[in-house]
């Protein structure tokens, strides 16, 4: 029972640091920073992914080929490597100093956007040719057909892919530790290394936190998907 009291104490002493980091001294961290990284990278990735998927569908062959090459490169690099190289190499090669948080957001956004572009492209392709013909028959141009006929149906098809990618992205924010960004996993490691002997308790709690965040997003996603069902 003494051990149990110890564990409660351990959690009570560190919970604020794990949730918000050292916010009081102007250094937000922990779960709050994890959520910030995920929302920022997720928003940028979604916009870029949508643009990328549309460009793959509508673009000239030259643009499509370039885009496909960029996507192929991004998908082939481990996220951690991209973060590591951007953080340490850009200052040396280009003389620009990118802060850790910005590096992580950029790396996660780019890689997620590459995956999402393919999802968007596939989602648009899944809508039958008849729909494009229907748009034209109504006197709509190609872009108008895309906007008013194709995308409303395609986005519904894509939603599960987007949710998938957002969940992956939330978990990938833990890779920010490699450049010393104090997100949830990083601060948990700091606490674990001070306490030394409670890895099970600390990382159990961290696992639970990721589970709650990710499953909440999945639940919201499935609710949204149901609401979007065509009547």
């Amino acid at each position: 029972m003494a051990g149990c009291a110890m564990n409660t104490q351990l959690i009570a002493d560190n919970i604020d640091y794990l949730l918000i980091g050292n916010w009081a001294n102007g250094q937000p961290g922990g779960l709050a920073l994890t959520l910030f990284l995920a929302v920022a990278a997720g928003s940028i990735a979604s916009l870029l992914g949508l643009a990328g998927g549309i460009a793959l569908t509508m673009g000239q062959p030259g643009l499509r080929r370039t885009l496909e090459a960029v996507i192929a490169v991004l998908r082939a690099i481990p996220v951690m490597m991209l973060i590591f190289w951007c953080y340490f190499l850009l200052p040396i090669l280009l003389g620009i100093d990118v802060p850790g948080i910005a590096t992580v957001i950029a790396a996660l956004a780019l890689i997620s956007a590459a995956y999402l572009s393919q999802s968007v492209y596939a989602g648009i392709a899944a809508i039958g040719h008849g729909q494009w013909a229907a748009g034209q028959a109504l006197g709509l141009g190609r872009w108008q057909t895309l906007r008013w006929v194709i995308l409303p149906q395609a986005l519904r098809v894509m939603l599960p892919s987007f949710i998938n990618q957002w969940i992956t992205l939330i978990k990938d924010t833990s890779l920010a530790y490699v450049v010393g960004v104090a997100e949830l996993t990083f601060v948990a490691t700091q606490v674990n290394n001070r306490e030394q002997i409670y890895p099970l308790e600390i990382f159990g709690m961290i696992g639970l936190a990721y589970f709650i965040v990710c499953s909440t997003l999945a639940w919201l996603g499935s609710r949204l998907a149901r609401r979007w069902q065509p009547v």
């Binding site: 640091y17 200052p91 040396i92 700091q190 606490v191 290394n193 002997i197 890895p199």
Partner: protein, 267 residues
């Protein structure tokens, strides 16, 4: 893997022309950025109360910042990131239990040593009494440390498992993944003192090396090196170096360890 990346980055950086004098940059910015451990008590770790990185290395870094007359900003680091941070200009100095080696001297400059220790081992009781017994053992080390390098070169029959940091290696020892772990003796004394099941383990009764820890400085920054050296010498002369040591390794601390090295003993 990270270590070879560090080498690649260093190779790239040394091929580029030198930038303006770093000491001027620091004074202009009003901030000294020092890479310190955030996970290695008592050298650098996150204080439970203040939520700031503190420790012996941080006290030394603070003295240097004071000498220059600027604010100290700590950049959290780990053994494998120390050289990349310095070479990429993300930190002005490294104060992270940084052992001086010839290999590292190719990439960074060092100040006078301000700490000395030797490579030691923690093992389950009775398993490790002599260096010969290392052959055939699974030994946990921290990635990118001199301990890892030394064992790889001199004890090829030992199976090494590299972990991100010492507490993780110690967890592996307690779980039975490895039979011993290796680090600086000073760090192991501290680690063992805090373990709840310390009666199961012991410090192996031999020391493989004598190592010196110093402040890492970007290559070619001679003014910065001499300023750091002056600060260190003053710390020793005024007795502050001893006070700092006693704060972390004195008789009343968790890891009492007599001071057997003074700044200036080794250049």
């Amino acid at each position: 893997m990270k270590f070879s990346i560090a080498l690649a980055i260093a190779a790239l950086a040394t091929s580029l022309p030198a930038l303006a004098d770093r000491l001027d940059d620091i004074q202009k910015a009003g901030v000294l950025r020092v890479a310190a451990f955030d996970s290695n008590p008592p050298f650098g770790f996150l204080d439970g109360k203040t939520r700031q990185i503190s420790g012996l290395d941080v006290d030394v870094a603070q003295a240097i910042a004071k000498k220059i007359g600027v604010k100290l900003e700590l950049v959290p680091t780990n053994p494998a990131n120390r050289i990349p941070l310095l070479v990429a200009g993300k930190a002005d100095l490294v104060a992270a239990n940084f052992t001086v080696t010839d290999e590292r001297r190719k990439q960074v400059d060092f100040s006078l040593p301000y700490f000395a220790s030797g490579q030691q081992f923690i093992a389950r009781k009775g398993i490790l009494k002599t260096p010969e017994q290392l052959a055939g053992l699974r030994v946990g080390v921290d990635k990118g440390t001199t301990q890892e390098i030394h064992l790889r070169e001199k004890y090829p029959q030992t199976t090494l498992v590299a972990y991100d940091d010492t507490p993780l290696a110690f967890t592996a020892l307690r779980n039975g993944n490895v039979q011993a772990i290796s680090q600086d003796g000073s760090k192991l004394v501290a680690l063992l003192a805090q373990a709840p099941d310390k009666q199961k383990y012991e410090l192996a009764p031999f020391t493989l090396t004598r190592e010196y820890q110093a402040i890492g400085v970007p290559k070619g920054e001679t003014r910065l090196v001499s300023l750091v050296n002056d600060t260190l010498k003053e710390l020793e002369k005024s007795g502050s170096a001893k006070t700092i040591y006693e704060r972390w390794f004195g008789p009343d601390t968790k890891q009492p360890l007599p001071r057997d090295f003074k700044i200036g003993d080794q250049s």
